[in-house]
Subunit: 295 residues, 2 copies
């Protein structure tokens, strides 16, 4: 039997490939991983399109109970669905390798991921350096990781662009409730571009190595590959004023740019029609705006 790792792409149910769809339709067990990213479509719509029930896999299922996924592939074809491409996250590589070691046949169906589609912003993919992840800080808990800074600095010194992936908190335990013996999860939270820019500028103020300034060109990407996709370019200081709407958001910090890149950036520049917002410290965060947010 086969354990398929199938990329779903970025948008809705029709972003699966024809090969991927045929594989899903041939599997009785279909598992959807949905904590490293979020697809812009409801589970019910996916199930109707596939003609198959879907089992959600959260971080716990994938990282601790992985056997339940790959062991059943010994007796039946199993489809493990991943938003984007199956190789987006280390977790999936690990899962594939464990299945491989058990002698389970693995097939991969590639698809678009944010790491390729980010080139929509006009900055050429071959000129991107290290990708960095920005985490939602918790200043009360003194949790303000900033290890991204050195990587952005190195990329920028080498003239490279930097893709910043913004944090997703899905199915996080509510410890206050758990202390009372109740299993509760916090509502999903998605980092906004404005939050990311605030964080970047705060770290620059501390480290002062000149990785970037508030005048550095960047591009905000929201709901990439979906019909409501929003791409806006501007300085970091300008992007903080844009309301990018519902998740997911990503940010690209430009390195050295070439004339064609500059032309595309100009096409995406802020205009009078660009939705604007108050800075993130004054605004309501997009904590609960994920369409896929029900737990």
């Amino acid at each position: 039997m086969v354990l398929y790792f199938i990329g779903l792409g970025l948008g809705d149910e029709k972003d699966i490939t024809v090969r991927g769809l045929e594989a899903v339709k041939g599997c009785r067990k279909v598992v959807l991983e949905r904590y490293t990213s979020v697809l812009g479509v409801d589970k019910e719509k996916l199930e109707a399109f596939y003609g198959r029930p879907i089992i959600y896999a959260d971080r716990e299922t994938v990282e601790s109970e992985a056997e339940s996924i790959y062991e059943s592939a010994a007796t039946e074809d199993v489809a493990f669905l991943v938003v984007g491409d199956p190789f987006c996250a280390t977790t999936h590589t690990d899962l594939m390798m464990r299945a491989h070691k058990l002698g389970i046949k693995v097939e991969v169906v590639h698809n678009a991921s944010v790491m390729g589609a980010a080139a929509s912003c006009g900055l050429q993919l071959y000129n991107f350096g290290h990708t960095v992840s920005l985490c939602l800080w918790d200043k009360e808990m003194d949790w303000t990781p900033s290890s991204f800074y050195e990587k952005v600095l190195y990329n920028r010194k080498g003239g490279m662009h930097t893709l910043c992936l913004l944090d997703i908190k899905v199915k996080e335990p509510d410890f206050a409730e758990m202390a009372k013996g109740r299993v509760r999860y916090l509502p999903p939270r998605f980092m906004t571009i404005a939050q990311a820019v605030e964080q970047l500028l705060e770290v620059e103020t501390e480290r002062k190595a000149g990785a970037y300034t508030k005048d550095t060109m960047a591009v905000g990407l929201a709901r990439l590959g979906q019909p409501s996709q929003l791409i806006v370019s501007g300085t970091l200081d300008e992007l903080i004023t844009v309301d990018f709407g519902a998740p997911l958001h990503s940010l690209v910090i430009a390195g050295e740019t070439h004339p064609i890149e500059e032309e595309v950036l100009a096409m995406y520049a802020i205009t009078a029609d660009t939705p604007r917002a108050a800075p993130p410290s004054e605004q309501t965060q997009h904590d609960e705006s994920g369409r896929d947010g029900e737990q």
Copy 2:
């Protein structure tokens, strides 16, 4: 009307997305760009699958006669098909922008590209730096570009992996024939991994900046995403002895590696079953082995 830019992914006709297939079926004019990459499937098979005739676009059509593509989108829906993702190559970005300026509605259908699927080799995508292109050298004409070297050096100093895209020569004019008044094209040529490694080592011998050595770990990727895909890891010196077979080939030079990455590299290491070949200077080049080679 709409000008669709549709990514075809890496392998065969079923690697198109469901959204992409629906768009193609709705277009009377379907153009396939095929000089920046090559799909592993015949035109006839694609036409049968789409139920549409396909017009090939070579470098000339896309770069000099682009109007013929986007102007017809003023009166009818046009599908412009691109192997991989539409944003793989600068040319497509430029074409999109020109269409946009003429007020033609553009829609993009993303797909997997080699730049994302290269992560199949086990080296994590977020840790890749600058992508480099290696050209087929012509020593007789003193054409031995090596500008990739500085980029690989910078990537490696920063611990990053480097994806090397290997040259494709499709529909190159045969000047000797043209001088006789005959329009002839040279057979397509595709750079092999062995040729790439020879070139890399030759440039290191000249520059001596220690970007890599013959003992640097790398991974060769052939026919990525296709059923006959071959992934082999080893030192540069080892990879030169592997026969990767038909095109397309790519090479990833590893930077710093983490335990999971090392585990995957070990899984792809050369074994007794790995097809072996004589060094490229002694072997016949894979010049005419492209399935899609007829001009």
